[in-house]
Amino acid sequence: MEAVIAIAMGIMFGAGVWLLLRPRTFQVITGLLLVSYAVNLFIFIMGRLTLNRPPLTLAEGTIDPALYADPMPQALVLTAIVIGFATTALYLVVMIGARGLTGTDHVDGKETH
């Protein structure tokens, strides 16, 4: 599982990076989305992989932390997801604003030949 998620994340990150390096604003926003998935996953798996042990301490009595997934990265990712959503929205608006004003969807706001 570790290998799978590592490779998958690598692919997402690589694809995202490729898009970030492209000249069109829409490519960049797509890249931002992909990189953001990869990074969120990265934070998440830094708490290691756990199956069927969500951090819900519903049981009575003393709690054995070993029986639960690390809640901390999850909380961090949750924050990161929301912030990521917000910044995507912002970029989107800047993207269309730039398109309107500059007349091009090139990231530099002008075509370079």
């Binding site: 599982m1 570790e2 290998a3 799978v4 998620i5 590592a6 998958a8 690598g10 692919i11 997402m12 990150f13 690589g14 694809a15 995202g16 990076v17 490729w18 898009l19 390096l21 492209r22 604003t25 829409f26 490519q27 797509t30 989305l33 992909l34 998935y37 990265f42 998440f44 290691r48 992989l49 199956l51 042990r53 969500p54 951090p55 301490t57 519903l58 932390p65 639960y68 997934a69 690390d70 809640p71 901390m72 999850q74 949750l78 924050t79 929301v82 912030i83 990521g84 917000a86 995507t88 929205a89 989107l92 608006v93 800047v94 269309i96 604003g97 398109r99 309107g100 990231v107 530099d108």
Partner: protein, 967 residues
């Protein structure tokens, strides 16, 4: 205190002068004159206070951290210079009162002049080298302002810039040199430095230090090869030239060499550098001076030459040479100041300084002419004038340098003397002959008090020249003693030393000078010659301008080469550094010894095949098929959510799912405003070779980035769970102390609630920004028309308004479902909100669900209909959400707890049983509010753009879109 007043006085007066009205010419002059005069009196008084050690000193705390105090220190040398500065300053003030035109805004002039005088005094009175550098640079700054005083003239601007560039750069070098000095001896105090000559001269850093200090001194004193700025500084008003370029500014350089003479001189390096520069300067200056046509130009080059002479003397390094240097400094100041003023009078009276036109001025300016001729004679070293004595001493030292074997120095000295006589003759020639008729103005003798400074200075030349021992003797002795201490040699200031070699050299110089002048006039056509023989090719002005241009051009080139204004290279660099820097500086080779593989699941792998392929697909399609790319990104999002779910993170899965939905809607709202991209295949374009190479490069980088990411995560994953981390604490305390069993939620609303506060602030900020940005949104022209889907003749719904579509159109049946979903989604939002503290859910998911419920209604019935039926006011949701969160957090204060401390109210009610109401719940309500407000504000602000553009007048928005359908 008196010492301080010497420096503070001019600066304060400078401020006062700046505030006086523009037409206060007399008040300004009085002010400046009184300051200079009182300074003179104070300085004279201080002469009597120079105690047994010959020093008056005063310290003030400044920067104790660096062992740096302000030290005002006056000894014989400083006293002599202070007298010169203030004395000539006073004369210049008097002169300037008459020289400057009544139309000139003199407050500025006098303000600058006084500030300059203060800086100059600061230089000579510094008992601390750093402090000396401070005033040194201040003289550069103030002289820049003075030279550029007539800044409407290009030559003044250029002259000022040139002078400042050269001297300020030299000042920077001096600063480093002085720092090195301080480093060598462990103190910047002048006393300490002067006492540590041996340590300094034997230090490894002696040479670099010497070079740096010399650079400072030589630039300031306009020594070769930095001499070129001085002639251009002549663009300044003549009083400024008289002050700066005779007695003060340029003398600062030689002053510094004198000041540091005991500590630095006496080594071959010193002699080579200082004397070498001096000899070159002396000869070049003197030679060039002969060929000048501008009176002030001639004086400038002669100044360069005389400064070279002083430098040579200092470079020679013998005590007698130093005596000669100090003496000549004084002498030069007197005759050169008077000559500048005389030149100024000529310029003032005739309207020109061009010697090619000036003739026979003796007739109209007899008095001035006499004074100028005497001063020129002093400059030429004619006996019975002060120049003669110091030049004589110079010749003696020149002879001493080479001893019997080497005559080079002596020859140079005599040559300089010859040239000096020649240019002096050139100068006084303007008074002879027949006065031409074509002078711009008919000259008259200037006012009494304009002549007075010249008279006084010429008198000085005579007095010192005839009775040197009585007049200057004691002061010179004090000055020399302060430098040499015990080692003051025997010297005689007599006019007559008998027939000796120096006298022969003087006579040779006089005779040779006259002969050279005559020869040059007769044979060479000196009067009209347009260039300087041998040296003519070097044009300081041109060189400076070229250097500046080249500097700026090459900087531009380098900026382009080493930097970029484009985004893509920047991102590429960031990624490359992300890969390279950790690899290079951490060298993570040890990590590559990977432990055994973890467990493997085909099912999980299958899930991720989908994610990975969708990601690659999105990368492939994003340029020309935005909708396809968007769908593929959606596929990735689904996979990621499922992976969260699979790996025990239900909260993440829920949030990611909702964010996914909203992001899709969001991007679709934006996509409307991006005009289509047509594939190169449709346009019959093949990508260029460069483009293909670029893509290949990016591909390599992307692959490396992916590999690195995969590798690092794999390594980190296999390192086993972190032990002793802080998360155990959260798991064990969440329920008991945080009051909730969903540890992630307790983290968000309790343990790390301040993160959440920041996070909702981010949402709020972005929403407000988006709103603000969209208020001035201007769509691209291609996006302006109503979409083709709404203007065609095929679709019966094309022309329908949104609400028509719902009431009579194709949305009639779907609307039944979608409207039914609104309360259901609302209930689900409430459900997620209420259970969030104990089970997956919470304010975020609830808020996002609620927003989706509203957005569905917008999609169904359109903006106008929804907003006419529902006043949402997302701004208020945001503001009140933030307030609720803050106020909840502050509630804890009242009970003496820190911000955001949570508490749970327990109630036991009949029938209902135990009820727990955690304060974190209220905090979460704030989160909910902000999430709803922000999401809706963003989405509706985007949605409003459609409404806005539909309202545009018909001319801008063609009713029928002729363009290609977007997707």
């Amino acid at each position: 205190m008196l010492l301080l007043s010497l420096i503070a006085g001019p600066f304060i007066a400078s401020l006062v002068a700046a505030l006086l009205p523009t037409d206060a010419r007399n008040r300004e002059s009085w002010l400046a004159g009184i300051v200079a005069l009182s300074g003179l009196l104070v300085t004279s008084y201080l002469y009597t206070q120079l105690g047994a050690d010959g020093v008056v000193q005063r310290e003030f705390d400044w920067l104790p951290a660096f062992g740096l105090n302000l030290v005002l220190r006056m000894d014989g040398l400083a006293w002599l210079f202070a007298m010169l500065i203030q004395g000539i300053g006073l004369l210049v003030v008097i002169y300037a009162r008459y020289y400057m035109s009544p139309k000139d805004p003199v407050p500025r002039f006098f303000s600058f002049l006084l500030a300059f005088m203060g800086s100059m005094l600061g230089v000579v009175l510094s008992g601390n080298l750093i402090q000396l550098v401070v005033f040194w640079e201040l003289t550069s700054v103030t002289s820049f302002l003075l030279i550029g005083y007539w800044h409407h003239r290009a030559d003044a601007r250029r002259g000022a810039r040139m002078a400042f560039t050269v001297t300020a750069s030299g000042g920077l070098c001096l600063l480093i040199g002085v720092l090195l000095l301080g480093h060598m001896v462990g103190s910047y105090s002048l006393d300490v430095v002067l006492a540590s000559g041996d340590v300094i001269r034997e230090h490894d850093l002696y040479l670099p230090m010497l070079v740096l200090v010399a650079l400072g001194a030589l630039t300031k004193s306009a020594q070769f090869p930095f001499h070129f700025w001085l002639p251009h500084a002549m663009a300044a008003p003549t009083p400024v030239s008289a002050f700066l370029h005779s007695a003060t500014m340029v003398k600062a350089g030689v002053f510094l060499l004198m000041r540091l003479w005991p500590a630095l001189s006496g080594t071959p390096e010193w002699t080579w550098i200082i004397m070498g520069a001096g000899v070159c300067t002396m000869l070049i200056g003197a030679f060039t001076a002969i060929f000048q046509h501008d009176l002030k130009g001639l004086l400038a080059y002669s100044t360069i030459s005389h400064l070279g002479l002083i430098t040579v003397l200092l470079g020679i390094g013998t005590p007698l040479a130093l005596v000669a240097a100090v003496f000549h400094t004084f002498n030069h100041a007197t005759f050169k100041a008077s000559l500048f003023m005389a030149a100024g009078i000529i310029d003032h009276e005739t309207g020109t300084r061009d010697m090619r036109h000036l003739r026979g001025l003796y007739a109209s300016l007899p008095y001035t002419a006499t004074l100028a001729i005497v001063a020129s004679a002093a400059m030429a070293g004619v006996p019975l004038l002060n120049g003669f004595i110091s030049k004589e001493m110079f010749f003696a030292e020149a002879l001493a340098v080479g001893s019997a074997r080497n005559w080079g120095m002596s020859i140079a000295a005599v040559l300089m003397g010859i040239f000096g006589v020649a240019y002096s003759l050139r100068f006084i020639y303007v008074f002879f002959g027949r006065q031409p008729d074509d002078l711009p103005r008919q000259p008259h003798e200037p006012p009494r008090w304009m002549r007075f400074p010249v008279e006084f200075l010429v008198l000085c030349c005579l007095v010192v020249g005839i009775i040197p021992g009585l007049s200057i003797g004691p002061f010179l002795s004090a000055a020399v003693t302060s430098v040499l201490g015990e080692a003051v040699p025997y010297y005689s200031l007599a006019v007559w030393h008998g027939f000796n070699l120096p006298l022969a050299m003087s006579l040779l110089a006089l005779a040779g000078g006259v002969a050279l002048y005559a020869w040059l006039r007769a044979r060479y056509g000196l009067i009209q010659s347009t260039y300087v023989p041998f040296l003519g090719r070097f044009n300081g002005k041109q060189a400076y301008e070229n250097t500046m241009l080249r500097l700026s051009a090459s900087a531009s080139l380098l900026e382009k080469l080493l930097g970029t204004r484009r985004l893509q290279p920047q991102l590429l660099l960031m990624i490359v550094l992300l890969l390279a820097v950790p690899t290079l500086i951490v060298r993570p080779v040890s990590l590559l010894a990977l432990p055994a593989n973890g467990e493997f699941s085909w099912l999980f792998a299958g899930l991720w095949v989908i994610g990975a392929v969708c990601a690659l697909g999105a990368a492939w399609q994003a340029k020309y098929h935005r909708l396809a790319a968007l769908s593929l990104v959606g596929g990735v999002g689904i996979t990621v959510s499922l992976a969260f779910l699979w790996l025990s993170a239900p909260d993440l899965a829920l949030t990611q799912l909702m964010v996914e939905t909203i992001t899709t809607v969001l991007i679709l709202l934006g996509l409307r405003w991006l005009p289509p991209r047509i594939t190169p295949r449709e346009l019959n374009i093949t990508p260029s070779r460069r483009a293909r190479l670029r893509r290949a490069r990016d591909m390599v980088v992307a692959v490396c980035a992916g590999l690195a990411m995969a590798l690092v995560s794999y390594v980190a994953l296999l390192r086993g769970p972190s032990t002793g981390g802080i998360s155990d604490f959260f798991l064990t305390r969440a329920l008991s102390e945080g009051g909730g069993s969903n540890v992630v939620n307790v983290l968000l609303v309790d343990f790390r609630s301040i993160d959440t506060l920041g996070e909702i602030a981010v949402l709020a900020i972005v929403a407000l920004t988006v709103y603000a940005l969209l208020r001035r949104f201007r769509p691209a022209p291609e996006s302006l028309p109503i979409p083709a889907q709404q203007t065609n003749s095929v679709d019966p719904a094309a022309g329908q308004t949104p609400i028509q579509q719902v009431e009579i159109g194709y949305l009639k049946v779907p609307s039944v479902y979608l409207r039914l979903l609104l309360p259901i989604m609302g209930v689900i939002a409430a459900y997620f909100f209420i259970r969030g503290h104990n089970l997956p859910g919470g304010g975020f998911v609830a808020g996002l669900t609620f927003s989706v419920a509203i957005i569905v209604q917008y999609m169904l019935a359109g903006t106008q209909w929804v907003e006419s039926h529902l006043r949402l006011q997302p701004h208020r949701w945001i503001a009140f959400g933030l307030w609720i969160a803050c106020v909840t957090g502050m509630g804890a204060w009242l009970l003496g707890y820190p911000f955001l401390t949570s508490h749970t109210a327990h109630y036991t009610l009949p029938v209902l049983g135990e009820i727990h109401l955690p304060s974190a719940f209220v905090f979460d309500l704030g989160v909910f509010g902000v999430v709803v407000g922000a999401t809706l504000l963003i989405l509706t602000a985007l949605a409003h753009q459609s409404v806005r553009s539909h309202r545009l007048p018909a001319t801008t928005a063609a009713p029928v879109a002729a363009h290609k359908e977007i997707f």
